[in-house]
Subunit: 347 residues, 4 copies
């Protein structure tokens, strides 16, 4: 941490900061410049934060130097992690495909979507039972009935299930059905929810808040990790910008940036970032090429009849093209497509 | 709602859309242009939304025309509302000042802050007991002990209390102490929480999400209203932009825009938007001048010792200057400062 | 300037940075922290910038401490400046109103607009002859014919004229007619143009780029100042954000922020920021209240017939209300409305 | 174009709009909804734009339906174009690599960089002689001396040269040396410059403004095309967002979006978008995979000594890895790396 003094700061102002830091158990190194003096602080940064140094006379700015997250950083865990979800690995050397309907509507639609997901190269099934919707008048999901459908389809196909949890009170319920708990973009700073999934015994898929910086996203992961759950996969899904041609702007650079800062796997959602079916395949290729550890995509047997986000769901020919991409591109880049697990009945 | 057909759309494509709309009970008016055809839809917009018209052959775009919120709009309730909180009114013709510490720390600090708030012209007390913090290592608030302190200070000063609720499970607890429930910027799209406060019997202060459009903000209010609670006050507190000189960018234009769209009162938080003490007074003057129905500001007896956001809390001379501003400026603009309630003991 | 070393930096890495800085004539102070070392640099920052310190082994980040502009900063010129335009002052203690049509269309329309401007309290006339338009198919302005009209209207009314210059090649031409040269939002980083107006003998109205940080805006002013022209007035006119309810988001906080950093006057454009007539008066009140040194507004005798931005031009009753605001509000805040100059013929 | 009437609009308001449109030679189709009426306009949209319909009584909104650009759109030119620069093609089926130093410093540095560019797979040379710099105190480029160095290096290596032009007055000068004129991100809405390069006889590389929507970018291309120059290559180089981990946010989705809207080739600049050397290779892979028609990258023999943007220039091992990527990845995706031209002396 560095304290920048104002040009008009007095010697007494400088001494006051030094004494304050030393009283808090830290060390302070003073560098006098031509027009300004800076003071480098050594010690416990969290404790310095509580000093409100910016409030003191003569202090112009306080600049933090080290990253504020620990458990999820590569400084504390240099090797990148592999997370296992119902036996399916996500992490370095692999490209893991998660696919399924945006929303669980019926057993048939979910099973058909799961078969499409498998055809597209998926080793995990996605599907929403509890839906966070911008409008109170929009369909909010089937709830527990949806979770049961997902569990049935898992039994039939062998695909582990990831589904969203939107409320701390339902974490136990969702955990009893799902293999992985999704925290959605609008919940990324729902700290009570982060703590609840941090105490759950299931891996977590943490979507980036559409307004969150990479640092805030990693701090949200730190919330989960701090409660003892380090089985976290990060998911970039687009950020909010001034551009309106796409629903959000996929921040593809976030993948290599995060992989350098954190040991956690990071995947991309090419469906929700663009919100347009015609962008899903190009963005999937880009996601694999940039080094993402996987993708999560929407599929639907009849997009025009979907109860949510039908505009972006893959179907028909898209599925075949997706299968080709995920079966060839990873290998060319030195990675492998994660194979789908064998269903229990077929072993 | 208007469906815009692609230049290459066929007559069959157009007919298909018309039939679809008619089958859903609506009417469709076709306008053929030189290069494109547009189809105007008349009927129940929510139902048309479920048709996924964008998925149909030849459809290029679907443009919504009417606003998606109802209960909070002026189309359904033309006169602007006055909301009462513990007897204190917020609404047209008034400027209501809410002030207090960002965080409740001790009984003494809270009482002193409340006295400062009164001196500054406040008729309501703010103070956080449950704090949503970006870092899991930061102070998270005193919880129920903080609520008890707030209630004690209310008894002493007569000021109704607004405090944040961050979790649906604690809405009842917070309601049992507070006069108004604050939904914070990071919770604006926590739909479970919105529904919970919508079912509570206390007025709600709904802060704008720092990434939320005005329409999304009003949709969040609609969530609360839909559960039967129309005692909602909106609070603009800055949005996230590329500018880094201030913590967020106060969207002051939002006040007249919202007042035109919705009947709900809207106030401004000049403390959290800028994050800098030196901006609080200029932004307070601007807030009153632009027509805001009130302001909510941080005060603290010793900002340098504050456990949260000390950089922005008013103290000492600022309080006197604030008092002058809120006692003179509203009257010059044809409004009145809401007077502080008389404490029970003094009546 | 502070160099932050990576956790894995070696002693040799640290020594290399120190030697480099000393070789460039600077001093380096090393502060060793628990996990990182930081090096404070003292000396000529521009020279350090050329060292590319970020490229060296073990260097994690380089943080600049002092501001990169000099001539326009308050560090070098503590008192706020008053700029005179054709005898009309803009600066502390005053509220100067500039008004006129977005675009000069005819002599009659311009003269009528100027009379409306005077009625609204203006002491300067605005009007565009060279228009930067997003579409090549839109009206691009009357050019020199428009400048002649402005000069004629000035002779008739006594109001000094500010008009936009969009090309270095026409700076001399525009200077021969105008009293003040406007650099528009899309030209704020047209460095050749900035240098050209910096060499001109007329004051400059520098609008903020809709995508520019406050620092970049002040750097653009520095370009002008560096060529010897310090008669610069800054104009905040809204920045681009995700919000679409208004054309741009007026960054009202920029006024007190800039007034603290720079000695130059700063005014607000409430017409172009919102792009809506109904926002002009509320934003004008807010501009005066926040402390802006003036405003610049669009007026038009027949907005529905305007060739540019008719949606936002004031007319009729708006003019009377504007006059009331600018004649009463400044005084209540301890400032004065700048009086209109007396036309030559009337002296 | 669609006119949306306000709920309170009267029949007279509706009739007035219809008459206005008909008087302008258009047709108007009225669709009456439950709460609102909409009017679809058929005819010349530019002419309707001049009507200022939004200013009329009862009009709530005016929504444009068709795209405002013509010459650069696929509606008017369905097949994607191939642009030739000094004999080197850019367009569908190809991946063209442009590389070189950010800034021309010396003949040796430029020649060495060009050899590195060739080794990296480039068929064109980039290099700046006129530099738009945020600070007036930063190095502004060698000017014509730099252009001569570029021409000499072209003679030696056979690589066509692209270099930036920042001023309409120097378009002829730059055209006399360069094979392609670059319009930089800060000049994208310098309309005088766009018109000047539109009249030049050299192809244009049009970088996206960091604050520009895709529509504004295509409108800027339309400015160039309207003057008769359709040899335009678009370059996505990152947009400004709230994220600070990268210099800008690469909007990779813009590539497929633009390729659908316009027939012009679109390439990606992975160096300037991220501003970090470690992101250049991942973003290059992503650019090729998403379908970009090429890339433009910075290389430098000694990044630490570079006069501009040394932090992001490739060197040493990076060059070899880049060569591997661009020689293998395009083929796997059904495209070809554009081969470097043979220098005149070697034919």
């Amino acid at each position: 941490m560095v304290v920048v003094m104002a040009p008009e700061a007095t010697q007494a102002d400088i001494d006051a900061v030094v004494e304050l830091v030393q009283a808090a158990g830290g060390e302070a190194f003073v560098s006098r410049g031509v027009s300004r003096t800076i003071i480098g602080l050594v010690g416990d940064v969290e404790q310095f934060g509580a000093l409100n140094l910016r409030s003191y006379s003569g202090v112009s700015d306080v600049v933090r130097i080290s990253v504020p997250y620990k458990l999820v950083s590569r400084e504390h865990h240099p090797n990148r992690s592999v997370i296992h979800v119902g036996g399916v690995p996500i992490g370095p050397g692999l490209v893991t495909v998660i696919a399924g309907p945006c929303t669980v509507e019926t057993p048939e639609q979910t099973l058909t979507s799961a078969r499409m997901a498998q055809a597209a190269g998926a080793s995990m099934l996605r599907g929403g039972a509890f839906k966070p919707r911008t409008s109170p008048y929009a369909f909010q999901g089937l709830g527990e009935a949806g979770l049961r459908i997902l569990a049935d389809v898992r039994a039939e196909t062998g695909l582990p299930v990831v589904t969203e949890v939107i409320d701390p009170a339902s974490v136990d319920l969702v955990s009893s059905y799902a293999d992985m708990l999704q925290v959605g973009t609008r919940s990324m700073q729902n700290f009570t929810l982060l703590q609840a999934v941090g105490s759950a015994s299931k891996p977590v898929l943490l979507k980036r808040g559409m307004n969150a910086t990479i640092e805030e996203w990693l701090m949200a992961a730190e919330y989960i990790a701090q409660r003892g759950n380090l089985d976290i996969v990060l998911c970039e899904r687009g950020i909010r910008t001034f551009e309106t041609a796409t629903r959000n702007t996929l921040d593809i650079s976030a993948v290599p940036v995060v992989q350098r800062l954190s040991h956690l796997p990071v995947i991309i959602d090419p469906s929700h970032s663009g919100g347009r079916r015609d962008l899903v395949l190009p963005l999937t290729r880009a996601a694999i090429a940039v080094g993402a550890d996987g993708i999560i995509v929407d599929v639907h047997p009849q997009p025009a009849a979907a109860m949510c986000d039908g505009d972006q769901a893959l179907t028909g020919d898209d599925i075949r093209e997706m299968a080709t991409v995920v079966r060839t591109l990873p290998r060319l880049l030195g990675r492998e497509l994660t194979p789908a697990p064998v269903p229990a009945g077929a072993r």
